[in-house]
Subunit: 342 residues, 2 copies
C-alpha cells in the first residue's frame, strides 16, 4: 500500500539507484531524467523513508511531548509554542496525554525511549515522579526539558515561570484592595500548588493575617472537570454564609477561578462587588467571561517556545549542563476584583 | 547516551541473546536469569527499539494526526478522543498543527508519509485540498480518515457529524421562538460553513424569510482570534442599530458565538432579551459563560474515538472500502435565546 522507491523507479522508468541519486542529490543525474523522477515522486506522493534514514543517522528528528491533558486551555498553547519551533527545525512531535496519571507518565516516557525520540519535553511533570528519581534517571539517558514542575534538588532542565513572583503580586494586590479574608484554592499534590501556597502563607504572615488562613483543596486540578468540581465545593461553602462581608479567592489556576465565579453566580454573590477572584495562567477563557478575570499571565506560548529551543540546543550541542530558564510572570488586572469599602 | 540491549546485557551479566529472549519471550530463559534481566531493564529504563522493529515488521505503530490548530477548544477534544483509543492499542500520535494553512497541510502529510506512519487522521481537512485531489491521492497510498471536511464526490473515509441536521434544529428553534431577522455568521471557505449556509437559506425559504437573508463572513474562523475578530465586526454593525427590534444570530461555531456575545455586551444589547445567539460545537467554554450558550453538540470526543477505531480497523484488515460514519448532532438549549414578544 505504501509507495516506495521501487514504485517511483517503475513510474519514471529508471533504476532504483537513479531515484536514490535524485533524492539524495549525491551523484549527477541527467536533467531530463531528474525531471522524470521528480514528476513520478510528485505523482505518487512519495516521501523518502525517514525511518530507514534514522537508523543510519542515529536520530529520528522526533521529540516526545508529554502532557497531563491535551484538552485543557493551558497545555495546548504550550504545545503550540513547542510545535512552532520544532516544525521550523524539521522535528516532529510524538504527543502523549497522560490523563494526569503519574503511572501513565512513566509508561509513556518509557515508550518514547523505545521509539528512539531525540528528546523529551514533559509539561507539568508529576511531583511524585520528580521525588522518586524517575526524571533524574531519564535525564541521564536522553535530552529532557521539563516545563514547570520544578522540584528543588532534582537535576533536570527546567523552563519555568516565576510563579512565586506572580503569586506574590496577586496576593499583594488583594491586600492592597483591603481584603483580609482571602481563601486559597489549590489542587492535589504539585510543586506549583505548594509554591503558591507558601507565598499565600508568607504574605498573610507579613500582614498579620495568618489567623485568617483558609486553604481548600479541590482535588484533581487540571482537567475540564475542575471548573465544575470547584463550583460544587465552593457553592456548598457560599450557601452557608449569612453575612456578606467581603471575601476574596486566590486560585492556583484559571479553571478553578472560573469554578469559583460560577459558584458565586449560583449562590447570588456578585463578582467583584461581594467577592473578588484572582486566577492564574491567563488562559483564553479568562478574557471571554464576564466580568473578565484578573489573573497572572504565564506566557504559555513562550514556555513552549523556550522548551523547544532548549531541547534543540541540547541535542545539537550535546550540552550536558542543566539549566533553569525562568520567565517573568505578570498580574493582569481585569474586572474580577474590587476594593473593600471600609 | 541512549541505553541499548548491550548495556542491559552488561548490567545483568548475561549475553545479548539472553536479553533478546527475555524481551521477545520467544525462547525459554531460567527464572533467575529472567529476573536479573528484568531488573537491569528497569534499572536502566531500557525500552526495546521500536524503530528497528518497525523496519522488520513494516509498521511503525504510529498515526499522524493533522489539525488546523491545537489550541482552540474543538480540536484538542477530538485529539483526546483519538489518543485514548490509540493508546489502548499501543499506537502513538504524530501531532501536526497546520496553522489552518492548506499548504502546511500538504507539507505535513507528505512528511508523515516519509515517517512511515501506519495511517493518517486529518481533522477538518481544507476544502481546497479536497477539491484539488490531494486527499484522494493520499487515500490511495495510506490508510486515511478525515474528521469532518466532507466533500461530495471525494473518495475518502470520513467521520462526520450530521451538521445539516444540527443546523436545521438550530434554525427551526429560532423560527419557533418567533425570530424573523436571523443573521448567519460564517468563516472563509469550508465545506462545513457552506453546508450550514445552505441549511440557513433552505429554512429561511421554507418560512418565506429569504428576503431577510443576512450572511456575514468573519474571515479565519477557527483560531483564538476568531472571538475577537467576530466581536469587532459585529460590534460595528450593532452600533449602527437604532431600534431594538429582536434579532438572532446563528453562528457556524461557538468561538464566533462568543464573539457575538461579547459584541452585544459592548454595544449594550442584552442576551437573550434583545438578541438571541446559537452557536455550534458545544465547546467547553460555551457552558462557562453567562448566559450559557445554546449550541449544537458535536460529540467532539466521539468524533475522535470513531476516527481512531476506524483507522485501526482499516490498518488491521487492509480494508479498502471507503466509509462515511455519521454521528448524530443535538441542539443543546441553554440560556442565550429567547422568545420574541409579539
Amino acid at each position: 500500500m505504501k509507495i516506495n522507491i521501487k514504485d517511483v523507479a517503475k513510474e519514471a522508468n529508471v533504476s532504483m539507484t537513479t531515484v536514490s541519486r535524485v533524492i539524495n542529490n549525491n551523484y549527477p543525474v541527467k536533467s531530463e531524467t531528474r525531471k522524470r523522477v521528480e514528476k513520478a515522486i510528485k505523482k505518487l506522493n512519495f516521501s523518502p523513508n525517514i525511518l530507514a534514514r534514522s537508523l543510519v543517522n542515529q536520530n529520528t528528528k522526533t521529540i516526545g511531548v508529554v502532557t497531563p491533558s491535551i484538552n485543557n486551555l493551558f497545555f495546548p498553547t504550550v504545545i503550540k509554542g513547542i510545535e512552532g519551533i520544532l516544525r521550523k527545525n524539521e522535528y516532529s512531535i510524538y504527543l502523549c496525554d497522560t490523563d494526569d496519571k503519574p503511572e501513565e507518565e512513566i509508561d509513556y516516557i518509557k515508550s518514547l525511549l523505545g521509539r528512539q525520540v531525540d528528546g523529551i519535553i514533559s509539561i507539568d511533570p508529576k511531583t511524585e515522579n520528580m521525588d522518586n528519581g524517575f526524571y533524574e534517571d531519564i535525564s541521564k539517558s536522553i535530552p529532557l526539558v521539563c516545563v514547570n514542575g520544578y522540584n528543588e534538588g532534582v537535576n533536570c532542565n527546567f523552563v519555568l515561570n516565576d510563579e512565586a513572583s506572580g503569586a506574590e503580586q496577586a496576593m499583594k494586590y488583594l491586600i492592597d484592595l483591603g481584603h483580609t479574608d482571602i481563601i486559597f484554592i489549590r489542587g492535589e499534590k504539585s510543586y506549583s500548588y505548594d509554591l503558591k501556597e507558601a507565598v499565600y502563607k508568607k504574605v498573610l504572615k507579613e500582614n498579620k493575617l495568618l489567623k485568617n488562613k483558609k486553604i481548600i483543596n479541590i482535588g484533581e486540578g487540571n482537567s475540564n472537570d475542575t471548573v465544575e468540581n470547584t463550583m460544587d465545593i465552593i457553592f456548598k461553602r457560599l450557601e452557608k454564609i449569612k453575612d456578606k462581608s467581603p471575601i476574596a479567592f486566590f486560585t492556583c489556576n484559571d479553571l478553578m477561578a472560573l469554578g469559583v465565579m460560577n459558584a458565586c453566580k449560583k449562590a447570588n454573590f456578585n463578582v467583584p462587588e461581594d467577592i473578588s477572584i484572582i486566577g492564574f495562567d491567563n488562559i483564553l477563557v479568562s478574557s471571554l467571561v464576564e466580568p473578565k478575570l484578573t489573573t497572572v499571565d504565564q506566557n504559555m506560548y513562550a514556555l513552549g517556545e523556550n522548551a523547544a529551543n532548549r531541547i534543540l540546543h541540547i541535542i545539537r550541542n550535546d550540552d550536558k549542563e542543566l539549566t533553569k530558564i525562568i520567565l517573568d510572570t505578570k498580574l493582569v488586572i481585569r474586572g474580577s476584583c474590587s476594593k473593600v469599602n471600609v
